[in-house]
């Protein structure tokens, strides 16, 4: 009796989940379908159409799409690299050392994420013009720190705080220098946090629209901004737009799947008294 009941329960559960999944994924599915539709059938809502790869051909070989993709990759990866290099030591300091206004500084860093980008983007534009870093990789990587750094520092700081300070002391007494301790003992322990924070930061940077729209646009064109070009003044090539959007969403999706694996914590537990 009981097993029947739980079987029925799990069927209902699964059906509900499938319905929700279809509902949630529908826009994405629709977008992918669009990429295979010829322009003429774009507006038909039936699922019967003449599939074509023409949109892909046009986007990949007849536009500068690959250049935009490269630009996105450079600024996002660059932004994350800078965040990791500067953010991990900062997180360590915030976790381990006691100094005046420590919590204020930590909060200040987090608060960068509070303000809407549009609020600061105009003054930034003026500053970038004056500093001659407008429309450059450097400029974008710099401004992207507003997006990636706070996230990274806050996640990694939590991981550092979870590691008992005695582990560092133990390694020190064992004869390791601080750098060895950091790379041999601490880095493996914060790795899950560091990787997931870095991937999240990468996704946020990748998806950023406002900053590159205002602060770049000719020399450097991340994909998010470039996509708008497919909405021409006279004709909108929705098929091509869909291809561009789908392709640019791919890295984010792949990374998101990677994070899932790394989000499993618990490695740092069990080392000290239980």
């Amino acid at each position: 009796m009981k097993t029947n009941k739980s079987l029925l329960g799990s069927i209902v559960q699964n059906v509900l989940l499938v319905i929700y999944a279809v509902f949630a994924l529908f826009p994405l599915i629709w977008m992918v379908i669009l990429t295979f539709k010829p322009d003429a059938e774009i507006y038909t809502t039936t699922f019967v159409f003449h599939p074509t790869l023409n949109n892909y051909r046009v986007v990949l070989f007849e536009t500068d799409y690959l250049r935009y993709l490269r630009d996105s990759l450079i600024v996002s990866a660059g932004a994350v690299a800078v965040s990791v290099l500067a953010g991990v030591p900062a997180a360590y300091a915030l976790a381990r050392y006691n100094f005046k206004k420590k919590e204020d500084i930590a909060f200040q860093i987090l608060s960068f994420k509070f303000a809407p980008e549009i609020l600061v983007v105009l003054p930034l534009f003026m500053i970038f013009q004056k500093l001659h870093i407008y429309d450059s990789y450097f400029g974008l990587i710099w401004v992207y720190q507003l997006i990636s750094m706070p996230l990274l520092i806050w996640v990694v700081r939590g991981y550092f705080e979870d590691i008992s300070v005695e582990i560092e002391h133990a390694a020190e007494v064992d004869g390791y220098s601080w750098y060895q301790i950091f790379f041999k003992m601490l880095l493996p322990l914060i790795k899950p946090g560091l990787v997931s924070a870095a991937l999240l930061a990468f996704i946020f940077a990748w998806n950023s629209f406002t900053f590159p729209l205002i602060l770049a646009g000719t020399n450097v064109q991340p994909i998010t901004v470039a996509i708008t070009k497919f909405l021409g003044t006279g004709s909108a090539h929705y098929g091509q737009l869909a291809v561009a959007a789908t392709l640019s969403a791919l890295p984010a999706i792949v990374f998101a799947l990677c994070i899932q694996k790394h989000l499993v914590r618990g490695l740092s537990f069990g080392a000290v008294k239980g």
Binding site: S164, H169, A171, E172, V173, D174, G175, L267, K273
Partner: protein, 383 residues
């Protein structure tokens, strides 16, 4: 192996003075126990020796060489931490190998393997080597932490409450085990604890620490039989020593002791040295200290016994404690397990006066005791 000297170490954390002029001289090859209540500053002393913390004032010397400016990695110490501090991402084997793989103390892998096998056998943990710390029980973690320190031959071996997180049975068993392998250490060892049994059992000498100061240093016997004040007397021993306030009076060439509570007067048995000491003091208010095993009880009235009522009767393992009450004075004494004792029933108590010690009632400082000379001999007393 080294002689460790601390000279006038002072350490403050903000406004809190953790260590206040600590001076210790720990002999080569000695097993020295730092014993005191929680928050006394014992761990801070250990950290100053290891180089994990820097003293604000004072000097740390290894074999006469000042170590203050040598960082922890270069001091050649090994330490067991209270929370074990095992590296969670490494197996037990790699944890134990880690000190021998560091640049400073590097040895080849064949040597490491042989050494780990030797130590893990001694610590009875050879079956654990491939496990991760998260797969170990507390007792096993403790063994690994100890093993990691033992694979090296450091100048000094530092242990910070290694048994504190184990339950009573395991703690006692581990303490005995530690006692057995102690002879193999062959290294100056400093052991921090708040458990008096560990201090008594393991220490060649014990340093009592309280509120950042050294209170008394001596062998276990010296501190147990001649504690320098009432605080130390109460710290050593479970159940606690009985402290009985009263007055000394000279009478017929001898001395009498009159209990403050109840006013009962005892004629003190003769002890020449003790009475000479009393002569110096003159008649005065004292606290008599008497260990629980030096009280006799009877449930029927006995000649010369003090009539009290039972306050409690509780087991402490292989024996029990009767707490008798007479007015405001409580008296603890040892009894076997499993007696049929009712609360508030009458009990008659006799004091074995020739085991007593005396403290000044005002300053609580140790004055003298019976058989002091003999005890000094047994306890290897150093002045």
């Amino acid at each position: 192996m080294a002689r460790i000297q601390l000279e006038n170490i002072t350490k403050k954390f903000g406004k809190v003075t953790a260590l206040d002029g600590i001076s210790l001289d720990i002999k080569e090859n000695e097993f020295f126990v730092l014993f005191g209540p929680a928050g006394a500053g014992k761990t801070t002393i250990l950290n100053c020796i290891a180089g994990i913390q820097m003293p604000d004032e004072g000097v740390v010397k290894f074999d006469g060489e000042i170590m203050n400016l040598v960082d922890a990695a270069h001091r050649d110490t090994a330490m067991v931490f209270e929370n074990y501090a095992l590296y969670p991402q490494m197996t037990v084997y790699d944890n134990m190998a880690s000190p021998l793989r560091s640049k400073l103390y590097k040895r080849d892998e064949a040597y490491i393997k042989q050494k780990i096998e030797e130590v893990s056998k001694m610590m009875k943990m050879d079956h654990l080597l491939q496990r991760l710390p998260s797969q170990l029980s507390n007792g096993q973690k403790q063994r690994v932490a100890m093993g990691r320190a033992l694979v090296r031959s450091p100048r000094v071996f530092l242990m910070d409450e290694p048994l504190a997180h184990l339950d009573a049975k395991l703690r006692n068993a581990m303490r005995t085990e530690l006692k057995e392998i102690q002879v193999n250490f062959g290294t100056t060892s400093i052991y921090v604890t708040h458990d008096f049994m560990e201090a008594m059992s393991l220490g060649d000498r014990i340093g009592i620490i309280n509120k950042g100061k050294v209170v008394q240093i001596g062998t276990g016997d010296a501190i147990y039989y001649m504690p320098c004040n009432e605080f130390v007397a109460q710290l050593m021993g479970d159940p606690e020593i009985n402290l009985i306030p009263g007055r000394l009076e000279k009478k017929d060439g001898g001395y009498t002791f009159t209990m403050q509570e109840g006013g009962r007067t005892y004629v003190l048995p003769k002890d020449k040295d003790l009475f000479a000491k009393f002569d110096q003091l003159g008649a005065s208010a004292v606290d008599m200290g008497l260990r629980p095993q030096n009280l006799k009880y009877s449930f029927t009235p006995q000649e010369g016994y003090l009539k009290c009522t039972v306050y409690s009767y509780e087991s402490i393992g292989n024996k029990s404690v009767i707490v008798a009450e007479m007015g405001g004075q409580q008296l603890r004494m040892i009894a076997p397990n499993g007696l049929h004792v009712k609360i508030d029933q009458d009990v008659y108590v006799d004091l074995m006066l020739d085991h007593s010690m005396f403290f000044d009632a005002g300053t609580k400082v140790y004055q003298s005791r019976y058989n002091e000379a003999e005890i000094k001999a047994v306890a290897k007393w150093e002045d």
